[in-house]
């Protein structure tokens, strides 16, 4: 990386940490530290909601999805606007009027202590682990792409975030999120401009998009229904609603964002900002990936983007075979490049159809060589993930496509901006998670169960320590997670197992007045157990995890009502 890029990244880090540290207004009170005294404007909260959801792995992973599989990932977000409206009507006013610090605090008021404690413990376990994964994922990618030391990369992401979150609490998190969103969107727009400018002189944007369309990269909507498919119109719209309701309504890292708003309506407006802009933003991210795909139709990409295996290959007896594949790949790429130009130039429908056929044959040739290379890497490294494909790209490559493009094809200065954008995406998510983990630890566990009578300053001190401890734990989990690729999937699955059930408890709380605390508690346990069995049973594990959420809700509601009818004290 050029010195100027280093300076851009360093300037970003200094700016964000300075901005976070100066947000100390009213942080000597619990309500100021955790809820900014409910004083923040809707647009800042709304940007914070969006920044929290857009993690670094979303940024590089989604562009990779766009490259490998096209636009269809957009369907994952179709349920989001509906969920935001439902939450604005239901949970937002309830939380706001209850004057709670955490979503789970409300469960004690409505049900009992054991339901609140179980919900908060589930949140702490799941988010504590996922916070480590959120650091680990971009750290691994940056360390491989840029040749940085992995531990230093983890610390470079984690330490500044821990520092400003400890000192400034939720205000630091929110106001840095606003700036981080600006860096992310600015970086994406810069990348799109570079990609468009990088097209060959005789290829227009329209022609480039026609080529992308011919390669299936612009297929955004798939209306067929399949339980096992996550990225279809119906999975996204119906299953996605429940996932988004769970995430934005029951996950403290999101609930805490809109609890800081000035009023109920400002809280609602902050959520509606995502309802309006989340899908267009994701479309921009995916389109960036599609344009990277188009860029690499005219410029030779590496045979495999992830170079983590390079050393093992060079030291193996199959080194020569790998290099022969690289030479074959270069030849096949040249044939495909010519086919791409012919397709872009084709004037009549008949010429276009013929050119499309040649293009597809050439693409199939390249895919075959990549698959053989991936199989060779799997044989040498024994990394089974090289057996999988995302779209037509080996799965371990997907997250490395965009970072490779950034570091090898973007101009000096913009490389630094894009690396800063990846840092920003990671830090904004981590900060919100650390802040919410500390809030739930202190409010739901420490103050409620261990030290109910301490002073405000004591709780503040414990809150800062809790933020630091969760941050440290996240860095430790991150350094272990990188060596255990499957851990990331385990953590994601773990989250999806309890999300729907947690939503079910809130549905019970708001909808069925006669539900008892025992009913809610047993319902929650039954929901989690059912989803757990459903997720891992051979007969049902093929069903997309998006459907775990409505299942969890249904079981909690049915069991919760049934148990409440049995345990409800009889009227005298």
């Amino acid at each position: 990386m050029h010195l100027l890029d280093w300076l851009v990244v360093a300037a970003y880090l200094v700016w964000i940490v300075y901005d976070g540290l100066k947000r100390t207004k009213a942080t000597d009170e619990m309500e100021g530290y955790f809820l900014a005294k409910r004083s923040l404007p809707w647009w800042a909260v709304g940007l914070s909601v969006m920044a929290t959801q857009l993690s670094a792995i979303t940024l590089v992973g989604t562009t990779g999805q766009g490259y490998a599989d096209g636009m269809r990932f957009i369907q994952f977000y179709l349920g989001l606007p509906i969920a935001m409206v439902i939450l604005s009507v239901t949970l937002v006013p309830f939380f706001y009027r209850a004057k709670v610090y955490t979503a789970y605090e409300y469960l004690e008021r409505r049900f009992d202590l054991k339901t609140r404690t179980l919900a908060s413990v589930l949140f702490l376990c799941s988010r504590g682990l996922s916070c480590g994964v959120i650091i680990a994922a971009p750290a691994v990618i940056l360390s491989i792409i840029l040749g940085w030391n992995l531990t230093i990369t983890i610390l470079a992401i984690g330490v500044p975030t821990i520092l400003y979150t400890m000192v400034g609490g939720v205000q630091a998190v929110t106001w840095t999120d606003v700036k981080q969103m600006a860096v992310i969107v600015g970086g994406l727009i810069a990348a799109v401009v570079v990609l468009i400018v990088g097209l060959p002189g005789d290829v227009s944007v329209g022609e480039a998009l026609h080529v992308a369309g011919s390669a299936g990269r612009l297929n955004a909507l798939d209306f067929h229904f399949a339980w096992g498919e996550t990225y279809t119109f119906w999975s996204g719209l119906l299953g996605g609603v429940f996932l988004m309701l769970s995430y934005f309504g029951c996950d403290q890292s999101q609930v805490q964002r809109y609890l800081t708003a000035k009023s109920i309506d400002e809280g609602r407006h902050s959520l509606l900002m995502s309802a309006f802009f989340k899908i267009p933003l994701q479309a921009l991210v995916l389109l960036t990936g599609v344009l990277v795909f188009v860029f690499y139709l005219f410029n030779q990409p590496p045979m495999l983007f992830n170079t983590a295996h390079a050393k093992d290959i060079e030291q193996s007896s199959r080194r020569g075979e790998y290099h022969a594949l690289e030479a074959e790949f270069a030849q096949a790429f040249e044939a495909r490049r010519q086919a791409t130009s012919a397709l872009a130039d084709a004037g009549t429908p008949a010429a276009r159809e013929a050119a499309r056929e040649t293009f597809r044959t050439a693409t199939g040739e390249l895919r075959g060589i990549r698959s053989r290379a991936a199989a060779l890497v799997r044989d040498v490294t024994h990394d089974d993930s090289y057996g999988g494909l995302t779209g037509d790209t080996p799965t371990p490559d997907v997250n490395y496509v965009f970072p490779t493009f950034i570091t090898t094809k973007m101009p000096i200065g913009l490389v630094g901006l894009m690396i800063a954008a990846i840092f920003a995406a990671a830090m904004s998510s981590i900060a919100a998670e650390l802040n919410s983990l500390a809030t739930s630890s202190v409010i739901d566990i420490y103050r409620r169960l261990l030290r109910p009578e301490a002073t405000e300053s004591h709780y503040l001190m414990v809150s800062r320590v809790a933020t630091g401890v969760w941050g440290l734990l996240a860095c430790i989990v991150a350094s272990f997670a990188v060596g255990l690729g499957s851990l990331i999937e385990v953590v994601n699955r773990f989250g999806s197992i309890f999300y729907g059930s947690l939503l079910g408890v809130f549905v019970l709380a708001l909808t069925f007045r006669r539900t008892t605390g025992t009913g809610a508690f047993v319902g929650l346990l039954a929901g989690i157990t059912t989803v757990l069995i459903f997720a891992f049973h051979p007969a049902t594990r093929g069903v997309s995890y998006l459907w775990h959420n409505p299942l969890g809700v249904a079981v909690v509601v049915v069991v919760g009502i049934a148990v409440s009818l049995v345990t409800r004290p009889r009227m005298a």
């Binding site: 935001m84 006013p93 009027r97 026609h210 369309g213 009023s263 309506d265 400002e266 309802a275 899908i279």
Partner: protein, 38 residues
């Protein structure tokens, strides 16, 4: 309860607007796909 807490009358219109915008976005995605894949 203050007026800001009770919810203002613009909210239902905003919710309607969310659904209209989502429908338009879906149509736009479909039209974009059709325009460049034929």
């Amino acid at each position: 309860m203050s007026s800001s807490e009770s919810g203002d009358s613009r909210m239902p219109r905003l919710y309607t607007l969310v659904f209209i915008v989502e429908a338009l976005v879906i149509v736009a995605l479909w039209a974009f796909e059709r325009a460049f894949t034929r």
